[in-house]
């Protein structure tokens, strides 16, 4: 079947999609967006987290056909128009929250969503929001640092622009 949807603001189209394919497979293997990761394919790791119509979901659990006519935003869509890193992306690099980096794309999208709804989350709020994103390398401490840093920079940025 053919599936068409919007990925990071651009219309995309995939042909000969097998009906059992996931959105994750289509993103990674058919439209050249392999940033979302394939760590478990059962919704138990969060590394494939993408925005679907603005809501963070596991792309591995969305059937490809369900993405028809919808808007998908992936980690590749978190950078600015000129390719500059977004606040959350930069914070993850700066804080040392990236080791192997396989969990990073999903964490970035989920953190982006968290800070959009709660700009100054408490530590427990951060932990609850990120509890669906497994990381095997960092022990999460630097990820906590990164989210705090992104939150602080975002708030500082918001104050500056006021």
């Amino acid at each position: 079947m053919r599936v068409t949807f919007t990925a990071n603001g651009k219309p995309v189209e995939a042909d000969d999609v097998w009906e059992g394919e996931s959105l994750l497979y289509v993103l990674r293997e058919r439209i050249g967006l392999p940033g979302s990761k394939n760590a478990c394919e059962q919704g138990e790791c969060g590394s494939c987290t993408v925005y679907l119509d603005g809501v963070p979901v596991c792309a591995c659990l969305v059937a490809a056909g369900q993405a028809q006519d919808r808007e998908v935003r992936t980690v590749e869509g978190l950078s600015g128009p000129d390719g500059e890193l977004g606040v959350v992306q930069q914070a993850f690099v700066d804080a040392g929250a990236v080791q192997c980096g396989f969990c990073t794309p999903g964490l970035l999208v989920q953190t982006d969503a968290l800070l959009a709804s709660d700009p100054r989350p408490s530590d427990e709020d951060i932990r609850e929001a990120l509890s669906g994103n497994l990381c095997r390398c960092t022990g999460y401490e630097k990820i906590m640092d990164a989210v705090r840093l992104a939150s602080a920079r975002r708030s500082a940025g918001a104050e500056d622009s006021e």
């Binding site: 097998w18 059992g20 990674r28 293997e29 050249g32 967006l33 392999p34 940033g35 990761k37 394939n38 760590a39 478990c40 394919e41 059962q42 138990e44 790791c45 992936t74 980690v75 590749e76 978190l78 950078s79 890193l85 992306q89 993850f92 690099v93 700066d94 804080a95 040392g96 990236v98 080791q99 192997c100 980096g101 396989f102 969990c103 990073t104 794309p105 970035l108 530590d123 427990e124 951060i126 932990r127 609850e128 509890s131 669906g132 994103n133 497994l134 990381c135 095997r136 390398c137 960092t138 022990g139 999460y140 401490e141 630097k142 990820i143 906590m144 640092d145 705090r148 840093l149 602080a152």
Partner: protein, 788 residues
């Protein structure tokens, strides 16, 4: 502002500070930007025009004879390009890291559940799955050999490998064993010297590396009849060494390039899909990609050896250890993998970082029809640490001593002898690490009035509003060897090239070291900066076009490849300065490279590196070897077996819901001597990550087997810690340089994984008063199956 928030602010300040980017600084990862953009190419992200998908048929049985394999129906599936069995292998059929006992595809029998039997290449993963389903295999199912008792009685239960096909150093179903005796050994007379004796049996479940990036890679057939493989691995050259004979190709026609690696932790030390993808690519003449699913991944790599251990310790009334006796049985599963080295580690490190005058040790690695076990972070030292640290706590209780004091009283220090007879000739601040761990401020007590449920055991599951919660505190310390031991010719190779590009001096660093996430690429660049006085460093992709770097394992890569980069950079520096001396006739004896210039303390800036280089590049390739080690004597275990030791101490604070048996680790502090922190940010990240894997082993992680079959091959049932399971992990670093190591550094990656698990179990014991002889500790162990 509360303490956590202040700590957070401090971290922000630290991060916001500009740091110098050489050795000792914490420059940002060179691959960080690509990774946060989603543009870093992991092995599963690769794509090639005309690419096919490879897939393996795996045995559902842990032990069976294969009576027939019929692939004809699979070949009829439209979109299938090849179906291969062992009969299609052009070269030798067996491979292995230490012992070549593993068939690339099963031959006449299968020895573990999930053993690959046949391969399919097809145009889509679903086509491949349907074809795999149509391969008809006739089995004669046999009773698997899975328990220690069964393994050690081959007369009754049979052999995993028939005696005539024995390729190992062992016999029967024993893959390897190592004995050790020091002092007077252990006898009734020695036992009589002790005022107090404690003994215990301990068990460690099978842990999985659970790296997030599944086994994957892309094999591309080459015009010269060879193959190029883009692969996530820990050791490119060892892969090639094992692959080439099976593919029937000379090594130079098997070219490997490191693709992005999504974590490793030992699980990529053995081959997984490497040979399979290449066989299919060479047969079809098309690029072949293989990506394991998560369930296949559990069958696709080795795991941490499960262990059964018996320990007996004797001490004087004032707490001095007199003797220790130990037997460790490690289940190596169907194939040897690195079992011999794991056994060697368990035997030589299994008494812990303690001075014990009389020791007897026997470590055994079994062959069984369980999944193969091999390398995982901590490598034989993890299992033993649970044993000896449990013993230390029991001994302390028995003697009425503080558990930290007991450990300090017996702690090894520089100049002491290990039970192997090896004198520790570098700092070994074990007592100091413990002191610091104990002196770190404790977290505040639980707010039982208005607890945030997310801080409680059970967290979001809403199992307690404060009822049944008891806090416990536990301590532990551990020891790990760094680098390859027992006489292995351990080396790494680096090529460093210095040239002027766009008016800037640029260092190119080329090694075959696998960056698996640990940050080796960052550190190698730092070393080049420091040694060559330049800012711009390019790390070239790791591949087999340069000499071996050895494995990214054994906490060795900063030591070894870092050492090689340092050597090569020093050679480049010497060559460059010689060039300057020839050109300018310098006679200064204090020439150095700094800030892109040749400088002398006396004469100041002499010339810029760019001007000195001109159009020429200066290049050097160097091999770095650590000082030689020697094998342990088979019977006495004596020998200068290890290059370097690494030590970490932990304090765990837990809250246990004693009615439900649920555990929340509240804090897990770590104090580690790192010799010299080449990159403090990365070092702390390694320690925190290592502690978290140890936490997983303490309270949740286990591959559960029944009759050789894995019952939880998924992330639904093999649980690793989430961010809600992982506490704050304050880390304190000691930097006591090791005179034998580059920059005085000490390998850091594994020591916390060795030491942290026992501290958590000790804390749970403290909270519950239970003995706890098995890890992972499960809720039923704290409730319905409480040992008497």
């Amino acid at each position: 502002m509360n303490a956590r928030a202040i700590q957070g602010q401090k971290n922000l300040q630290k991060i916001n500070q500009a740091s110098e980017d050489g050795v000792g600084g914490s420059p940002l990862r060179p691959d960080g930007n690509l990774k946060v953009r989603g543009e870093f190419a992991y092995s599963s992200d690769l794509w090639h025009e005309d690419m096919l998908w490879g897939m393996a048929l795996r045995s559902p049985h842990p032990r069976a004879d294969i009576l027939s394999v019929d692939v004809s129906e699979a070949l009829k599936v439209p979109g299938v390009y090849a179906v291969l069995t062992h009969e299609d292998i052009p070269g030798t059929k067996y491979y292995g890291l230490e012992i070549q006992d593993q068939p690339a595809l099963a031959i006449d029998k299968v020895r573990y559940q999930g053993e690959p039997i046949a391969l399919v290449a097809a145009d889509h993963p679903e086509t491949a799955r349907r074809a795999v389903e149509r391969i008809a295999v006739e089995y004669r199912v046999l009773t698997p050999i899975v328990t220690e008792e069964q393994c050690l009685d081959p007369g009754t239960y049979g052999y995993v490998h028939e005696p005539h096909e024995y390729k190992s150093h062992g016999h029967g179903n024993i893959c390897h064993e190592q004995r050790l005796v020091s002092g007077r050994g252990v006898s009734d007379e020695v036992r009589a010297l002790a005022d107090v004796v404690v003994s215990g049996d301990y068990e460690v479940g099978m842990q999985d590396q659970a790296f997030l990036g599944p086994e994957s890679g892309l094999a591309v057939p080459a015009e010269d009849g060879g193959v190029d493989l883009y692969i996530a691995t820990q050791w490119l050259h060892a892969d090639r060494r094992q692959m080439a004979p099976v593919l029937g190709l000379p090594e130079e026609k098997v070219r490997l390039t490191l693709a992005g690696v999504g974590g490793a932790f030992g699980g990529r030390e053995d081959l997984s899909m490497q040979i399979h993808a290449c066989l299919l690519a060479l047969r079809t003449g098309r690029p072949v990609k293989i990506v394991y699913s998560r369930d296949e991944s559990f069958f696709g790599h080795v795991h941490r050896h499960p262990a059964r251990m018996h320990y007996e310790h004797g001490a004087t009334r004032d707490g001095k250890l007199v003797f220790a006796d130990c037997r460790i049985v490690l289940d190596g599963g169907a194939y040897a993998s690195t079992t011999p080295a794991v056994v060697g580690n368990a035997a030589s490190l299994g008494m812990g970082p303690y001075v014990i005058p009389n020791v007897r040790m026997h470590a055994v690695g079994l062959y069984s029809n369980n999944p193969s076990c091999g390398a995982m972070r901590g490598f034989g030292a993890v299992q033993a640490a649970f044993g000896y640290e449990s013993q230390m706590d029991r001994l302390a209780t028995e003697l009425g001593l503080d558990p930290v004091e007991l450990r300090q009283l017996n702690a090894v220090a520089q100049g002491d002898f290990m039970p192997t007879g090896q004198r520790i000739d570098a700092p070994a601040p074990v007592a100091e690490l413990l002191r610091r761990a104990k002196e770190m401020p404790l977290p505040p007590p639980l707010d039982t009035e208005h607890p945030d449920p997310r801080r409680l055991p059970g967290a979001l599951s809403n199992t307690s509003h404060g009822e049944g919660i008891v806090r416990g505190v536990g301590y532990s310390v551990g020891i790990k060897n760094v680098g390859f031991s027992e006489g292995f010719d351990d080396y790494s190779t680096a090529r460093v090239r210095l040239e002027a590009i766009g008016g800037e001096p640029v260092a190119l660093v080329h090694t075959a070291a696998a960056e698996v996430g640990q940050g080796g690429v960052t550190v190698h660049a730092q070393i080049a900066r420091t040694e060559l006085g330049v800012e711009q460093v390019t790390i070239q992709p790791a591949d087999t076009a340069v000499g071996s770097a050895g494995s990214t394992s054994a906490s060795r890569q900063t030591y070894m490849t870092g050492g090689a980069v340092k050597l090569a950079a020093e050679a480049v520096r010497r060559a460059l300065l010689d060039k300057g001396r020839r050109r300018y006739g310098w006679t200064h004896d204090d020439l150095a490279l700094a800030g892109g210039k040749v400088v002398s303390a006396g004469a100041g800036v002499l010339v810029s590196i760019v001007d000195l280089l001109g159009d020429e590049a200066v290049e050097s390739t160097r091999e770095y070897r650590h000082r030689p080690t020697e094998p342990f004597d088979k019977e006495t275990g004596q020998g200068f077996g290890h290059v370097q030791y690494s030590f970490c101490a932990n304090r765990a604070v837990v809250d246990v819901d004693v009615e439900l048996g649920l555990v929340k680790v509240v804090e897990l502090s770590a104090v580690q001597d790192v010799g010299r922190a080449l990159n403090p940010l990365s070092v702390v990240g390694q320690i925190q990550g290592g502690c978290t894997q140890a936490l997983g082993l303490a309270v949740m992680e286990e591959i559960i087997l029944r009759d050789g079959k894995v019952r939880n091959a998924s992330f639904t049932d093999y649980l690793i810690p989430t961010i809600l399971d992982t506490p704050p992990i304050p880390v304190e670093l000691l930097e006591l340089p090791d005179p034998n190591a580059p920059y005085g550094l000490r390998g850091v990656g594994e020591a916390p994984t060795v030491s942290a698990t026992p501290s958590i179990v000790a804390a749970i014991r403290d909270a519950t008063g239970l003995a706890l002889h098995r890890i992972p500790v499960r809720p039923e162990h704290l409730t319905t199956e409480r040992p008497g």
